[in-house]
Amino acid sequence: MSDGARYEAVIGIECHVELKTSSKMFCGCRNEFGGEPNRQLCPVCLALPGALPVPNRLAIEHVVRAGLAFGAQIPVASKFDRKNYFYPDMPKNYQISQYDLPLTTGGVVRYRRADGSEGSCRLTRIHLEEDTGKSTHLGSGDGRIAGSTHSLVDFNRAGVPLMECVGEPDIRTPEDAVAFLEFLRLTFLYLGISDVKMEEGSLRCDANVSIRPAGTSAFGTKTEIKNMNSFRSVARALEYEIARQRRVLAEGGRIVQETRGWDESEGVTHSMRSKEQAHDYRYFPDPDLVPLTLDGAWIEGLRGSVGFTPIAAYDRLQRGGGLSVAQVRQIVEDPALTRFLLETLERKPGDDAFAQATANWLLSDVARILGREGISIDGQELLTPANLGELVELASGGTVTSKTAKELLERMMAGGGSPKEIVAREGLAQLSDPSAIASVVDEVIAANDKSVADYKAGKENAIKALVGQVMKVSKGKANPQLAESLLRERLAQS
């Protein structure tokens, strides 16, 4: 029996998410990534003597929205606590956080794996706190803290609103961990509450990992994995750590409860520090702040803004069956595109072919033009769900040729308008009347002796050249299938 069959992994994910607000959590300084060092500071976030915090209402609402999107409970009473520990990038040497009364408790993150199958992971809680500054370590040669001689601190990030989402240990595979994170990330993106960019640190995650004999329910000793800077490194780090723990147990060893850092370049986890001795954070209610009462009307007002989530969109797009799993995944990645598509599909509910065609348009031609222009679907107003829907109908119904349809799209995205009106105004409807095409066909046969001769000599390809000529002469309006059958008919007669 292999190790893989004997053990299963138990994974719990914790995420820190910087919230998207204009100002910081407890002061009016800008909440902006990448500013010049130590320019976004005031007495409050630099913890000058005498300064006092005042909480940002929007940040609180963002967290409540996040909880509501996952069906979490919003307790009536909440508050901020101080978490006391000394660290040079934390100006007050305590972090304003939430201890026993977080803004949201419970909830479930439903997610879809790459193959479209569904999984879920419960949330323990989501709470609100403030971010720390950032240190650059010097003297170690490689920027690492180990071996450094001194550090330089930029406090711009100190006081940025930070949401901590704690997941239950419901996850069993690295693949599910990534899928969970993807849907968590997308949900925050859909809600507009964070930029969720791992590369900028606005989404950071740690994982608790243990393994246990398959089929048992007691948890093994866990390790906490840090420093995972992308979803790919989450998958790699978890795979490595699970394998490492299996190896330790197989060799008769014991797993030590500790924090381990993921080393991206070496592809291994290193022990960072022992967690055997718990920190004494001396949490207590922040006496500079007053309690929060999350009354019904406030919550209900927020509930209205959390209906649009990636998992709901995924379900709707997949339900009809018109779209492939890959297409659904690709669309759901982009909240604006998803919103656009879903709105377009409301024109023809339940029409799988229309859904398929619209998705194809959005993912190919529309995406190409947007890419060329360097804009996003919600960064323009000319293409709308209404006029795109019309275009898809015109093209699918054969009213215009696909060539005309592409031209129409270009024109719509350059100047807007209804494609139906453009077609009517400029006579761009596809020529599907045999009598109207017949004269063009005759004209083409008369003018292309060589192709005609080739065709008659049995060169089947010659018919394509002749159809091409018909399209050219008709300015793309001729129905190509009709043109071909008329050509074959006439050539057979002559």
């Binding site: 007495p43 630099l46 913890a47 000058l48 003597p49 005498g50 300064a51 006092l52 915090p53 005042v54 909480p55 101080r82 006391n84 000394f86 040079p88 100006p91 007050k92 040497n93 305590y94 550090s151 601190v153 406090f155 718990a278 004494d280 001396r282 949490y283 207590f284 922040d286 006496p287 500079d288 702040l289 007053v290």
Partner: protein, 494 residues
């Protein structure tokens, strides 16, 4: 002019009978003369004062009328005043220049006050004698061998010695009322939340409150009226408008029930002191008050409650003094060593004791037994007052258990010093407004001791500052203990 009350100075400056710059120059000369004896100030701020005085004269010339036009002000050195060195009496802030101004101080400047200097205090306002200042010694103007009280000792001494007409002070467990009593001046602690704490270097956030020290009740009321009111920079600032108090000063106490606290019998304070308080209570009755008996059964737990809650909050509030962003730094090869040495060298013994006890009270395993239990005792204390105020409109009691004591008298037993706050702590825990008004003189019975002022403490229900000042004014005008008598040796000094 500087011997006049703040009310009189403001009237003269507003009427252009005197210029603010003239008042200031006279005041600076007086400070120059008195400081060698008194040591009320840690720093003088002449340059800023001259600029402020000129500005006041310009505003008056432009037609403005300012409630405290040209009134010389001492600012307790735990309040930020932009551009001035602000130390809280601690070596850990030596040389630190505040880049912003506390809200309460700003309101005083806007009202026409002229800041003469930064007044001495017990380090971080922790103490009852001013002996804990790391940066200077302040002497009691009534007897230079004795302490001025604390922590607002510099503020009280400055006002008593006519080195300022008004002084800002802060009270956490008695730090306004006790030094006011010791120095024979009026000191008032408003309802918690009435005056913004923004810019007040925090000792214990849930207890700290800024209030006025003045030579007359009317001056204190005017100063309070200017400082009080909502401040959006302080989350604990009361949004309700603070009713002006200066207009409601009374000449009698008819219709008021004044409660004497059963647990605060003065017999044990010595015959002479007991006689002063009994006479004060008779005077209240003579002015028309109905004297009633009230009980504060939990008052005896006040000290124990306070000496857990205040140090716990302080241990966290003072964590920011770490040698990273401001203040002198201790040597250390790594940051943890640097912290420990910076703080060891920067904090004095009393501050260290309180940080230690507070850290302990919050630490894992002791939090419920100490901190939470103290918070519950605090609830009981507030309940006592609520019940007592069902039977009376004001409470009268001593402001301190003795007159000013000689330097070094309390030895190295912190509990003996803490007992000085026995009469002031319960009101602080309940957040109530209270003031000390001179009520007579007594020697402490030691051979050759001079007569020293004593303070009568009046306490009002939450938000009833107007009632408090009104009654205190009636008592003051009827008794005139320090209105007609200056500290020995200072009468003739001009």
């Amino acid at each position: 002019m500087i011997r006049r009350s703040a009310t009189e100075i403001a009237a003269a400056v507003n009427a252009r009978q005197a210029a603010a710059v003239e008042v200031l120059e006279a005041q600076l000369a007086r400070v120059e003369q008195m400081e060698p004896q008194i040591g009320a100030y840690l720093a003088k701020t002449e340059e800023l004062a001259r600029a402020c005085a000129r500005r006041v004269d310009e505003r008056i010339a432009a037609g403005a009328s300012l409630p405290l036009a040209g009134v010389p002000l001492a600012v307790k050195d735990n309040m930020c005043l932009a551009g001035t060195v602000t130390t809280a009496g601690s070596k850990i802030l030596q040389g630190w220049v505040a880049p912003y101004t506390a809200t309460a101080v700003q309101r005083l400047l806007d009202a026409g006050c002229v800041p003469v200097g930064k007044a001495n205090l017990d380090e971080f306002a922790m103490g009852s004698s001013c002996e804990n200042s790391a940066l200077g010694t302040t002497r009691n103007p009534w007897d230079p061998e004795r302490v001025p009280g604390g922590s607002s000792g510099g503020s009280a001494a400055a006002v008593a010695a006519r080195e300022a007409a008004l002084a800002t002070a802060s009270d956490t467990g008695g730090s306004i009322r006790e030094p006011a009593a010791f120095c024979g001046v009026v000191g008032m602690k408003p309802t918690y939340g009435r005056v913004s704490r923004y810019g007040l270097i925090a000792f214990a956030s849930s207890l700290d409150q800024i209030g006025p020290i003045a030579r007359t009740v009317e001056d204190a009321a005017r100063m309070y009226d200017v400082m009080a009111g909502h401040d959006p920079m302080d989350s604990t600032s009361l949004p309700r408008p603070a009713e002006p108090t200066a207009g409601g000063l009374r000449r009698d106490l008819h219709g008021l029930r004044i409660g004497l606290v059963r647990e605060f019998a003065t017999k044990d304070l010595g015959e002479e002191i007991d006689a002063v308080y009994q006479s004060a209570y008779r005077q209240l009755a003579a002015l028309g008050a109905e004297i009633v008996d009230v009980a504060l059964p939990h008052a005896e737990y006040g000290l124990a409650t306070y000496y857990l809650i205040a140090p716990a909050e302080a241990s966290s509030n003072l964590a920011r003094f770490d040698g990273v962003r401001y203040g002198p730094r201790g040597n250390g090869t790594n940051v943890q060593e640097m912290y420990a040495r910076t703080r060891a060298a920067g904090f004095g013994p009393e501050v260290k004791r309180r940080i230690l006890i507070g850290t302990y009270a919050l630490s894992s395993g002791y939090y419920d037994a100490y901190y939470v239990r103290a918070q519950k005792a605090r609830t009981l204390m507030a309940g006592d007052f609520e019940k007592a105020f069902g039977a009376c409109d004001l409470i009268a009691c001593p402001a301190a258990s003795s007159p000013a004591f000689p330097f070094g008298a309390k030895g190295d037993d912190p509990v003996a010093m803490y007992l000085m706050d026995f009469y002031t702590i319960p009101m602080s825990l309940a957040g109530l407004p209270a003031l000390s008004v001179p009520c007579g003189f007594a020697s402490d019975g030691t051979a050759g001791a001079r007569e020293l002022p004593l303070g009568l403490q009046l306490v009002a229900p939450l938000y009833q500052e107007a009632r408090l000042f009104g009654a205190a004014h009636a008592y003051e005008q009827a008794t005139r203990f320090t209105l007609d008598r200056a500290p020995a040796g200072l009468e003739g000094v001009r």
